[in-house]
Structure formats: structure tokens, C-alpha cells
């Protein structure tokens, strides 16, 4: 097999990826209604465009073109980085696709470049949606020239390439240096690590928003990639400040260097890792690792909680997938990492947040977890196996859903709640009751993923953009609603109304849970007709 890049093959692969992404999915899911072809992508674009509009308006308050460009590029870098971290596993380590392509005379770098380009196409869609409003709004900034929209378009494309190259490079490194038995697990953790790194950059963004002006000669501009791309912006569309040229050169050099390293140097390692993942695992690796709760009988209270045999079976299936399945881990751990680290990150932010605020952010985050976990567990490349749920005598998908929901509660949400409460108690025990209204909403929030349609675990094929969009939508909605609930609880405590508020909400949530639970239970399990 030749190791050279074959442009005809590359074009054919890109055309196929493009077609498949436009058609929604290569394989139809068993339980879904008609799959929407462009609905998901449109929603994603609108979502990112709305974020770009808010960010653009916010950044027009900047004192100079560089500060404006920096805020916009920082947001783009963070949002794209986290989206790519959540999505890249499905694309880069798609084993069914490997079965199709592995025997063809394709050089590893051709496949990797096609996948990287496909990933970049996805990121470009999001990046352009996010940056379209700021491209126009930037013209309102004093000192910005009329060339800004065109220049910014170019720098956004370059930033997208840089971010994609960073993600592909990371996996290339993992593939090259990690042995086959640990590759799946290390890839999942590297993905979570990437998420955490981008989260760290988001804290720099939060810090930037608190500054009146960003200084180009600050030391960390050299290690903060969005600053390099902002420097490129001002070089083309404003009077460039000193040090803009070296930073701009850094942007171009880093993108080219990382891209070359990722595709040209690390491609064989990536191809080898993918081939090893596709092979039957070695004796040591194929032994099933015990999953907490999967075989060992939990306490009597949990046994009573899982007394329905179908719920218990779905609970155990979920536990196994949460602990053992590489694909589930690569999809879920980065999202969980982001949500779990966010409150911790508040501790390092100097101006706006305090220790107590960080603790309350953790309560807010708890509200996001049910949807994030349950949506991730709806998807699997083993989706064809979920046909078995249609063959067995189940009148409704409700017990399957409750089994998965209870696993999410047992393994993540419950420990998270205990940690959040301990954190609040340790920092400001008097504020503990303020968290109660948010916590009371958790059972209801955990029912929402099955409110609109059947929830059948592992039944839908992975689709690019699904997890990151779910994360963003859930994050935005819950932050908004959760912040209001926390503010109301805070105010109620100040006027002595909190106990009544809690009692009222408890009754309301109980009724809402019963009604939604009954709705989910009554809906018959149907496959696509």
C-alpha cells in the first residue's frame, strides 16, 4: 500500500462524508420516527448564531479592535473545542466504518485527512454560525476598518483548522504512544482532558470579559491561541499594535505545524490504533471488567428501588456501558468532565465568583446532568441490537427508560448531590436550604428525556453534532431556569418565605412527576412504522 496522499481517493471520501452528513445518518434507527435530514443542523446553526449575536453585542463594548477580536475568537475557540472534543470520538474511531474502509487500498493519511476535513467541516459550520453576527457587529468598534468581515472570515477558518488539528493531533499522539489494550480507555480520558483544557480556556475568557482592555504584550498572549488569531484580525482590519505581527505569525505557523504533525506524522499511529480497536481484543482486554452494580447485588434499599425486573435489567445494561464501553465513554466523559469541572473552575476566577458561588454552580450543574447522560445513552453503534427490545413483550419503553434513569441517578446525580450539599455546608451552612428548590426539581428533570418520544437505550446511531448540541441546549436552558430558581430561593430566604416555597414546590413537583410518569408509562413502545 502506498503511503502517499491520493487526491482522488481523498475527494471520493470527502464526497461520501459530505453526503452522509447531509442525509442525517447512514443507518436508520429502529425506533425513531422519520429522521430529520437538516432539522438538527439548522437548530445547531441557529443556536450558535444566537450565541454569536449575544457575544458580538457584548464585545462591542470593547475599547479597541484587538479586545473585540480576542473575545470573539476566545468564544469560538472554547465552543468549537468542546464540541469537537464531544464529537470527535464517533468520527475518528468509527469501527463499523473501519470495517468498510480497512480492506481498501487507502493510505492512513488519506483516511485521516478525510476524517479531519469532515470534522473541520462540522466545526466550520458552527464557527461561521457563531461568527457571522460578530463579523458585522465588529464594524461598530472604534478603529475597525470596513475590511473586518472579510479578514475575520479568513481568521475564523484558520482558527477552525487550528482547533481541529489540536483535537486530531491529540488522538494521533494517543494512538502512537499508548498500547492497544489501554487505547480505548486512554482515548476516552484524553477526550475528557481536552474538554477540561478548553474549559480552562473558557475561564480565561471569563477573566477577559472582566478586563477593560487586553494587552497584547501580556506574557500569556504567547500561550493563549485566540490572542494569535485576534492579532491576525487587527493586522488586516485595524491599526496593528506592536507585537501583533509575531502573534499573527504564531497563528499561521501553529496551524500549519499542528496540521502537518497530525496528518503527516501521526497518521500511521492512528491507523494502527484504529485497526487494533477493530480486532478481537487480546485475552487480557476482552475479559469483562466487573461493573459496579452490574453483578454485585446492591443494598436492600436499591434492590427495592429496582424491584421491576426490566428496570433492573436496563439499569445493569447502563452500568456496563458506562464503565466498559469505549464509545459511550468517549461520548459521555468529556461532557461530564465539562459539567463537573465547571463549578471547580469558578474557584480560580478572581473577580466575580466566590467559594459559595462555586458550590451553587455545582447545584445548577446537577440539573443539567440527567439530560446529558440520558441523551448520551440513547446512542450507540450497537443500535441494531436494540431491536431485541421490540421483540420482547414490553408494552411500553417506560421500564427501560426508568432503568437507565435510575442508573444515571445512582452513579452520577446522587453522588453529585451529596458533594454539592457538603460543599455548601462547608462554605456557608446557612445557605443550605437555598439549594433545596433546585434539588427538588431533579426528579422531574430526569423524566424530561422521555417526555416527547420513546426512550430506548442504545437505540440510535451516532450522529455528528448531536451530543454537543444537546450539551449546549441543556446547558443554556438549565442555567437560565436554574439561575432564576436559585435567585428566587435566595430572595425567599431573605424574607423568610423559603420553607413555604419549598413545601409548595415539593407538592408541585410531586404532581408533575406523577403526571409525566403516567404519560411515559401509557405511551406504547412502537417502532418506526
Amino acid at each position: 500500500m502506498s503511503h502517499a496522499l491520493d487526491l482522488r481517493q481523498l475527494r471520493a471520501l470527502l464526497r461520501a462524508y459530505f453526503r452522509m452528513s447531509l442525509r442525517g445518518k447512514a443507518v436508520r434507527a429502529f425506533y425513531r420516527r422519520k429522521p430529520s435530514k437538516l432539522g438538527g443542523a439548522t437548530a445547531m446553526v441557529l443556536l450558535y448564531a444566537s450565541m454569536g449575536t449575544v457575544a458580538g453585542f457584548g464585545a462591542t463594548g470593547s475599547h479597541d479592535p484587538f479586545s473585540f477580536a480576542l473575545v470573539v475568537h476566545s468564544l469560538t475557540f472554547v465552543m468549537l473545542g468542546m464540541s469537537l472534543a464531544a464529537e470527535s470520538g464517533d468520527l475518528l474511531f468509527n469501527l463499523p466504518e473501519h470495517d468498510v474502509l480497512a480492506h481498501l487500498p487507502l493510505a492512513p493519511r488519506t483516511i485521516l485527512l478525510a476524517k479531519a476535513a469532515s470534522l473541520m467541516g462540522f466545526a466550520l459550520l458552527l464557527g461561521l454560525a457563531l461568527n457571522l453576527p460578530p463579523m458585522l457587529l465588529g464594524l461598530r468598534v472604534t478603529g475597525m476598518r470596513a475590511t473586518f468581515p472579510l479578514v475575520h472570515l479568513g481568521t475564523v477558518v484558520l482558527l477552525v483548522a487550528f482547533t481541529t488539528a489540536t483535537v486530531v493531533f491529540t488522538y494521533g499522539l494517543v494512538g502512537r504512544f499508548v498500547d492497544r489494550n489501554r487505547f480505548g480507555s486512554v482515548a476516552a480520558w484524553s477526550q475528557a482532558g481536552l474538554s477540561a483544557a478548553f474549559l480552562g480556556f473558557s475561564q480565561v475568557l471569563a477573566h477577559l470579559l472582566e478586563l477593560p482592555r487586553f494587552r497584547l504584550d501580556a506574557a500569556y498572549a504567547l500561550v493563549y491561541p485566540p490572542a494569535w488569531f485576534a492579532a491576525l484580525d487587527v493586522l488586516g482590519a485595524a491599526v496593528p499594535p506592536p507585537r501583533a505581527v509575531p502573534l499573527a505569525l504564531l497563528a499561521v505557523a501553529a496551524t500549519l505545524g499542528l496540521g502537518w504533525m497530525a496528518v503527516a506524522r501521526l497518521a500511521p499511529g492512528y491507523a494502527g490504533a484504529l485497526a487494533q480497536l477493530g480486532e478481537a481484543p487480546t485475552r487480557r482486554a476482552r475479559r469483562a471488567r466487573p461493573s459496579p452494580g452490574a453483578e454485585r447485588a446492591p443494598g436492600s434499599l436499591v434492590r427495592w428501588w429496582l424491584r421491576d425486573p426490566v428496570e433492573r435489567a436496563a439499569f445493569q445494561l447502563t452500568a456496563v456501558y458506562l464503565w466498559r464501553d469505549r464509545e459511550t465513554k468517549t461520548r459521555l466523559y468529556p461532557s461530564l468532565g465539562f459539567f463537573l469541572l465547571l463549578p471547580v473552575a469558578q474557584l480560580f476566577s478572581r473577580a466575580t465568583y466566590s467559594l459559595t458561588a462555586g458550590a451553587f454552580v455545582s447545584v445548577l450543574i446537577l440539573g443539567m446532568l440527567p439530560s446529558v447522560i440520558l441523551e448520551a445513552l440513547r446512542t450507540s453503534s450497537h443500535h441494531a441490537a436494540s431491536e431485541v427490545f421490540a421483540a420482547v413483550p414490553l408494552g411500553s419503553a417506560a421500564p427501560l427508560f426508568h432503568g437507565v434513569r435510575k442508573a444515571a441517578i445512582y452513579y452520577v446525580i446522587l453522588p453529585g448531590t451529596v458533594i454539592a450539599l457538603l460543599w455548601i455546608a462547608a462554605t456557608d451552612a446557612e445557605k443550605l436550604p437555598v439549594a433545596v428548590p433546585s434539588l427538588l426539581a431533579l426528579p422531574f428533570l430526569s423524566l424530561l428525556p422521555a417526555a416527547g418520544r420513546d426512550y430506548v437505550p442504545l437505540s440510535e446511531p451516532p450522529t455528528t453534532g448531536r451530543q454537543s448540541t444537546a450539551n449546549v441546549v441543556v446547558g443554556m436552558l438549565i442555567t437560565l431556569v436554574g439561575a432564576v430558581v436559585l435567585a428566587v430561593a435566595w430572595a425567599a430566604q431573605r424574607v423568610g418565605f423559603l420553607p413555604y416555597l419549598i413545601a409548595l414546590e415539593a407538592v408541585g413537583m410531586f404532581v408533575a412527576c406523577r403526571l409525566l410518569g403516567a404519560h411515559i408509562r401509557r405511551r406504547p413502545l412502537r417502532r418506526e412504522a
Binding site: 478481537a280 481484543p281 476482552r286 469483562a288 426490566v310 445494561l317 431491536e387 431485541v388 421483540a391 413483550p393
Partner: protein, 256 residues
């Protein structure tokens, strides 16, 4: 008894099954044949309550598949063509999952799994410790067949069950289904392996483009068509004309 009356299924513009009428008495072993896309799997999925028909009715042991699909599913077992399993589970965990979904207790399930493992020559230690991802295709298929039989169904639908099985396992399977039929189980066997159907099934049903085109014992079909083997009968009823000549012409073109 399984009874179909004008059973039809339409997917948008495509009519996959067109007005099938059929009666299958209890304990009969029926081979359901047809070319690719003839509507065999769709018919089986309607009879197992997995897919609602667009028109017509189907009854399985007196139960309507539309009105009471859950009760129908309790009585039938189904081996899907895909043979897909949750690969992250061990064989034991997968069979336990299926047993739980059929409402078997853990103890009852364990006893049955051990029995099936013995019959299908699946070592219990391997079943318990190794992920299905590591099983060969044949071993995985044995697990899928065992899963369909765990709840002791009255009727069993096999969709290409011999996929991936080696000669010994295939022989064991053929013996098993004839024994099951003797025990009074109704068996619907979909396959493209005509020699197996010819040897094992007492009745052969052929559908083509969603319609029933032949129904009877091998002897009856031989008499009706004047052909000797099931392969020739099948070819005569379903293949496009001049198959041999077309194949020779294609090979010549390819060799140029």
C-alpha cells in the same frame, strides 16, 4: 395456529408485503423462502408484533398482532437476521438481560442459560467472563439463538439462523429445530439455504415481491412445477429469465 388474512405492509411508496393469506397449524415446521427483498423479514416482523401491518390481519395462537402485540411476543421467539447483540456485555449478561425482559426470575434464567450453554457448546466460564465483542460470529449466533429460546416460546421465527455457524453447530441446530417441531413448537424458518429447507421443512412457502407464489410440501411443489430440486423450483418461480446465459455473458465482459 398462525393465521394471516390479506396481510400487507407498505413503506411509503413501496409495498413490501401484498395481501398474504396463510394458515400455519401448531407444530408445523415451515420454510419461508423468497429472493432478497421479497418481504420475508417484514412478514416475520409483523407476525412477531414488532411491526404493525398496513392492512389485513394476523393472529398468532388466537391473538391479534395489532391488538395484543405484547401477548404475542410472550408466545414467540425471534432470531433476527442481523444477529446483532450488545457487544459490551458478556454472553451471560446478555442472556440474563433477555431473560429479565421476558420476565424470568434470575434463578430460572441461570438454570436455563446453563442448559443452553451445554447444548450449544458454549463454555460457561467464557460466557461469564468474555465480552460478546470477542466472540466469533458463530459463537455470537449461538447466543442469539439461545436468547430466542430462553423463555420456551410456542412459536419460533428464525431469520437466516445458520449465518456464521460451523458445520457441526449447523447440524446440531437442524436437529434441534426438528426436535422442537416434534415437541409441538411452530417453527417458521427463513433462509436462502435451500438444501437445508428442503431437508428439514415439511412445508415450503415462497413469496416474491410481497406476494405468495407457492405453498405446499416439497412433493407438491415438485408436482406443480415439474422440477426435481427445490433450487430449480425456486429459480423457476422467482428468477429473472436466462440466468445462465446472462452469467456467461457477464463473465465474458469481465474477462475482456
Amino acid at each position: 395456529m398462525i393465521r394471516l388474512r390479506q396481510l400487507s405492509k407498505r413503506f411509503g411508496e413501496v409495498e413490501a408485503v401484498r395481501g398474504l393469506d396463510l394458515e400455519i397449524p401448531t407444530g408445523q415446521l415451515v420454510g419461508l423462502l423468497g429472493p432478497n427483498g421479497a418481504g420475508k423479514s417484514t412478514t416475520v416482523k409483523m407476525l412477531t408484533g414488532m411491526l404493525p401491518p398496513s392492512a389485513g390481519t394476523a393472529e398468532v395462537f388466537g391473538l391479534d398482532v395489532v391488538r395484543d402485540p405484547v401477548a404475542v411476543k410472550r408466545l414467540v421467539g425471534y432470531v433476527p437476521e442481523s444477529g446483532a447483540v450488545f457487544e459490551t456485555l458478556t454472553g451471560w449478561e446478555y442472556l440474563q438481560l433477555i431473560a429479565a425482559l421476558y420476565g424470568l426470575s434470575d434463578g430460572e434464567a441461570a438454570a436455563r442459560i446453563v442448559r443452553f450453554a451445554e447444548f450449544f457448546e458454549l463454555a460457561e466460564a467464557m460466557l461469564r467472563s468474555e465480552l460478546l465483542a470477542a466472540y466469533s460470529k458463530g459463537m455470537r449466533q449461538r447466543v442469539v439463538i439461545a436468547a430466542a429460546l430462553l423463555h420456551n416460546p410456542k412459536a419460533i421465527f428464525f431469520d437466516e439462523p445458520l449465518n456464521g455457524l460451523d458445520a457441526n453447530a449447523a447440524l446440531a441446530f437442524k436437529t434441534l429445530i426438528t426436535s422442537l417441531a416434534r415437541e409441538g413448537k411452530t417453527i417458521i424458518y427463513c433462509s436462502h439455504l435451500l438444501d437445508v429447507v428442503e431437508r428439514v421443512c415439511e412445508r415450503i412457502v415462497i413469496i416474491h415481491e410481497g406476494r405468495l407464489i407457492a405453498d405446499g410440501s416439497l412433493a407438491q411443489l415438485q408436482e406443480e412445477t415439474g422440477e426435481v430440486s427445490l433450487e430449480r423450483i425456486f429459480n423457476r418461480l422467482t428468477a429473472t429469465e436466462h440466468l445462465l446465459a446472462r452469467a456467461e455473458e457477464f463473465a465474458r465482459v469481465l474477462a475482456r
